[in-house]
Amino acid sequence: MRSQGAGLFAYAIVYLAFLYVPVLFLPLFSFNNSMFIAFPLSGFTTQWYSQMWADAAVSHALFNSLKVGAAAALVSTMLAIPAARALTRYRVPGGASMLAFVNLPLFIPEIVLGISLLILLNATAIPLSLLTVALGHIVVCVPFAITVLVSRFEGFDKSLEEASLDLGENGWMTFWRVTFPLALPGIVSSLLLSFMVSFDDFLIAYFLAGSDVTLPIYIWGQLRFPYKLPSVLALGAFILFVSTVLVVFAEWVRSRGLDHRKHKMVGA
């Protein structure tokens, strides 16, 4: 038994190393005082970070990505709220298969999705821009948003909303005073998750962006220039840091929301 436990432990270590060591090279070399990505490290520097910040194209691409991410997160979450509520609250005929159908984009290879969206947009003569990228991202984000929100709305006591109606509030005020605050942790994690999915995406943006660039497209373009590589690493390390913070925050909000005890409001 002991040796089996030790074996599993070793397996876990190898697994985690496999997952995270390559990722850790990014921040490591981003502080390395050399143009070349090679050991031994030659010294500590922050010049690649200052070089990255000084580059107007970086901030432009970053700003584009933020815009697209925010739009995709907002729209897909807003679309997902009524869908998730309907799926959990009412016995929707064929609800289970509908959920599976909505989740389908998760299983379609992104390259297929990108090409089909491109064909569709060409056929309808809609010009490619950040807007079309956002549309493509919404298609991909809605399933994530619905999944997060369904798990939030499940186990939601229907009588809470009835109690609000009974206490004199109409349907709209009931939504604002009961449904929304209870769903808020789910909504926040849906926003964060959708944002991350959009922010990370390269393939769909590559197909649909036209002449606009999002951050991943910009990075991809910079890889052609060897002298730019260190500042791309700095950018990658920065994105990694922000993503980690966002994911941890989303998970914290979600688990906090599940534990109502921590939910308090000050007496009126």
Binding site: D157, P181, R261
Partner: protein, 359 residues
């Protein structure tokens, strides 16, 4: 409909698909009354209560509050408030904000709001609990908060769906007394749903006994116990012995009834000559003695000593079922006790036998 009728449920029917949840219910509830809907689980009590609250709408029939037709009004337009079976305490609000929830629309001054909520907290004996989180409350406290949240709106009718069902026995008994006292002091009409007949008997002014969507009898606890109108009510409320009987003749208001092994008897009833009837007799109405005249003879099959009372099963030749008897142990046990195998004689006062229609 009498003048004092406050809440009138007029031939209300509700179906869910093929299930007839409430079948032609007709109930007139009086102002200031503690009224209970009593019946086994699934008989339609909650559905009826939810139609009064406005969460369900009848397929047929009308609901009037003080003569005003409210059948189709949404919950927030009705002068009633509800204490939910699950209590439905808002988990994201503290006790104060839970109780204040329904007062927002009254646009009270801050001090007035504070006073109303604090008065409610005092009423439910939770003063000082305002800042507590909803999930820092025990079951009994949650039940009180749900009660205060509804009562603080000063409803004309308070609807309660098995509010004591989730509490343990001792707390439940204490709350029965408290709730009854509260109802008398605030003077609000209570419609109280329960499947517990003792609870209904001890708390209510009147009770509607329901079964399979139908209202069987509406009466005071005493009347339900002493004069049930059918076998189901008699069976559901307390213990009951049933015997077959046949009306052999009438003499004014009295019917002569042949009750087989129990003999011939004269009972006041409207049953006509030749009718088969059911005779019902409460176990505690029967007195046992070692020897007696003009009585029914039987043999003790089983005896259970329960402290202040004893239970016996008496076998009577000619009856399929043993007769159940309950006696109060008021005298010396030695002179009262009967052992299995003893021959005993059963007597009961005139009027103890209730005549029911055969179904």
């Amino acid at each position: 409909m009498s003048d004092e009728t406050y809440l009138n449920i007029d031939h209300v029917t509700k179906r869910f698909g093929k299930v007839l949840a409430v079948n032609d219910a007709q109930i007139a509830i009086r102002r200031g009354e503690f009224f209970s809907l009593l019946g086994p689980s699934g008989c339609g009590k909650t559905t009826l209560l939810r139609m009064i609250a406005g969460f369900e709408f009848p397929d047929a029939g009308e609901i009037y509050f003080e003569g005003m037709r409210m059948t189709d009004e949404p919950p927030h337009m009705r002068p009633s408030n509800m204490v939910f079976q699950s209590y439905a305490i808002f988990p994201h609000l503290n006790v104060f904000n839970n109780i204040a929830y329904g007062l927002r629309r009254e646009r009270l001054a801050r001090a007035e709001l504070q006073r109303r909520v604090e008065d409610a907290l005092v009423m439910i004996k939770l003063d000082g609990f305002g800042p507590r989180g909803a999930n820092e409350l025990s079951g009994g406290q949650r039940q009180r908060v749900a009660l205060a949240r509804a009562l603080v709106r000063r409803p004309k009718v308070l609807l309660l769906d098995e509010p004591l069902g989730a509490l343990d026995r001792r707390l439940r008994e204490a709350m029965q007394i408290e709730l009854r006292a509260l109802q008398k002091s605030v003077g609000i009409t209570f419609v109280f749903v329960t499947h517990d007949q003792e609870e209904a008997l001890s708390m209510s002014d009147r009770i509607a006994v329901m079964s399979a969507g139908q209202v069987l009898q509406i009466a005071s606890p005493r009347e339900l116990y002493e004069a049930p109108n059918c076998r189901e009510v008699a069976d559901f409320i307390g213990q009951m012995n049933f015997f077959d009987g046949k009306v052999t003749g009438r003499d004014g208001g009295m019917a002569r009834i042949d009750a087989g092994a129990l003999g011939m008897m004269e009972i006041e009833t409207g049953a006509s000559t030749g009718a088969s009837v059911l005779l019902a007799l409460r176990p505690e109405k029967i007195a046992l003695s070692a020897a007696a005249t003009n009585s029914v003879k039987g043999t003790v099959m089983a005896a259970a000593y329960l402290g202040e009372r004893s239970h016996y099963n008496i076998d009577v030749p000619g009856l399929n079922e043993p007769v159940s008897v309950a006696t109060q142990n008021v005298g010396k046990i030695a002179s009262q006790g009967h052992e299995p195998g003893d021959t005993v004689h059963m007597t009961w006062p005139p009027g103890a036998l209730v005549v029911l229609p055969r179904d």
